[in-house]
Symmetry: C2
Subunit: 355 residues, 2 copies
């Protein structure tokens, strides 16, 4: 099915931001183009759906570093044979509540969702169940999994490792992944979901500053020699700081150790395959699924929302809700995407670029 | 068995720090006096051992806010009937891997250890098992549990809530506990253990600054009206900031929700009984126990230890190891305790004060 569309009707705005030109694309169009890209890469319907949903949700919620920007790499990895779009991962139950997953080089969200589906009945039976995954590709924005599991009545703690990009507190060199954690909790109404890297920022944000020619705030990163820097280009060659100094370092390190020890995944500087096109991805993921909560948490969350905000803040926010509001807006008004990304997506979908 | 000792031989040094006078007490003497205090409060051998071990380990590792400083409150709570030194908590298995614990007002470490013992065989059978505890007293330094479980070959994730002392990021008022997390992981050698509150500091440190007449660093706390303050006395009436700004807030809130939803414990400003002598303690604790790791993590940790330290740092540290070094030193050289605390302990043990 060839894809065609009317440019003017669908691209609402294109405007420059620093060195970028930003295109605002209707969500449906963006999704269709992305599907076409993966269809041409030989990814079958069901798996395509999961991969595109994950990336689209990131763009919709304002986390463009985890959005369709990543699609070209995914295609390249399939084409280079380090990612198998047909694999769902093979499952071995080491114990009734402990699922060991060999991801068989599958797409991150496909392997992850397949594991989560297997965990649900076990969490119901045992109260809690976990999966330790390796040999799977980048699983993207962890909050996507946390929110969906919470919607279905499960508490999820999700951990994932990545290439070493973060320096230990007091150190000069990257030795830890950005090691995010997401937690989803059913609350009786909209599920609670938080999702954060244990680095002070993402490497994507540092690249973004470099692209815009802007300095980075002090405390974000060190340069190649391990000295603090506000030069974004120097930081690209260096390492990002852990969030919250020694405390965030301790958490990020604990997550690296848990994921590696439970899944057998690579650790520290051995980790490969989430930032390149040619290495087999050897990071790991851990999901802990707990059967539901006992308690309605809405009154408490509502109490927090209603707090008077501090000087300089408009409101006290609940994690995840700003992303949800952004999602609503972008579904209605279109999704801002770097023009370069949009052009590449169209090229990969074999559509004439709108530039 | 009355307790007697030779003062001069056992108190190595007493010296003033700000408004404090610090006594350095031999660890064995401190332990014996503390045991005598709890013996007189009617706490039987086995339970006394656990409570004193927990407090002593905090003092030995340099976490005096969670050390014997707290013993008088524990005695008062027993005497006021809000803490039952004989209770171990009653257990209901909601599922093979989900233990619901009614702490029956027992001593925190007694109820916690009893739950952990029950979790071990279930974690071995199921791969993972969890306990959700409420109606139990303060469980103290979470790292104590994490390190011991890791020594025995289990990965432990420990969460606990507390009175609301921490403001949401962007808010003016305390709505969250200091909600610590500890993680213990077997590594093949000394176990890995990290333990941190999700607040930027403890309320104990703010009281400490107030007692010394020192200002607190900006960013630690807000005053009663919710405005940032560096006045430690104003901060005592206000709220502590979350560590790592919005990220630490998201984590602290997620932990508050997980603990409350799984255990049925009180939440937010409803929480009572860890800072007073008269309220039944209604906070909650959650332990997730995972059966062992697959991987030897020593080489990686060693690689981190050997990193060149950043400007201004002597070494790159692994969480928990500074505390362990402090422990060794204090076992040999004595434990610094505020003179006032030492005098109160002796009074409670009905020993003539050394002042």
């Amino acid at each position: 099915m060839p894809l065609s569309y009317q440019h003017d009707a669908l691209i609402a705005i294109r405007y420059p931001i620093g060195f970028y030109i930003l295109a605002v694309i209707q969500a449906d169009l963006l999704r269709r183009v992305a599907h076409e890209v993966l269809r041409r890469a030989g990814v079958r319907d069901e798996h395509r759906q999961q991969q595109i949903d994950l990336l689209m949700e990131a763009d919709l919620r304002g986390v463009s570093s985890h959005g369709l920007l990543r699609l070209e790499r995914i295609v390249q990895r399939i084409s280079n044979g380090v990612s198998d779009p047909h694999a769902k991962g093979s499952h071995v139950w080491r114990a009734p509540g402990f699922l060991a997953v060999d991801g068989e080089r599958g797409l991150g969200p496909v392997v992850a969702n397949h594991a989560l589906e297997a965990l649900k009945p076990r969490a119901r039976e045992n109260g809690v169940a976990l999966a330790a995954i390796t040999n799977s590709n980048h699983i993207g924005m962890l909050g996507w999994y946390a929110e969906r599991m919470a919607q279905e009545g499960y508490t999820l703690i999700a951990l994932s490792t990545s290439e070493a990009l973060v320096h230990p507190w007091g150190g000069r060199m990257a030795m830890l992944g950005t090691n995010p954690i997401a937690i989803g909790i059913p609350t009786g109404d909209a599920p609670f979901m938080m999702d954060t890297a244990t680095s002070v920022v993402s490497m994507g944000e540092i690249h973004d500053h470099a692209n815009r020619g802007q300095p980075i705030p002090s405390g974000w990163a060190v340069d190649r020699a391990g000295n603090p820097t506000t030069d974004a280009n120097a930081a690209k060659q260096g390492a990002i700081g852990p969030f919250g100094q020694a405390k965030g370092y301790a958490l990020g390190l604990a997550f690296e150790l848990i994921v590696s020890s439970l899944s057998g995944a690579a650790i520290g500087r051995e980790v490969r395959g989430t930032l390149d096109d040619t290495s087999i991805c050897n990071k790991g993921d851990v999901f802990i699924v707990i059967d539901g909560p006992r308690r309605d948490l809405q009154a408490y969350l509502e109490e927090i929302r209603k707090l008077p905000p501090a000087e300089g803040y408009d409101a006290v926010l609940i994690p995840g809700e700003r992303g949800r509001a952004c999602r609503e807006k972008r579904l209605n008004e279109g999704v801002p995407v770097a023009d370069e990304v949009w052009n590449r997506l169209q090229a990969l979908a074999c559509i004439e670029a709108t530039a």
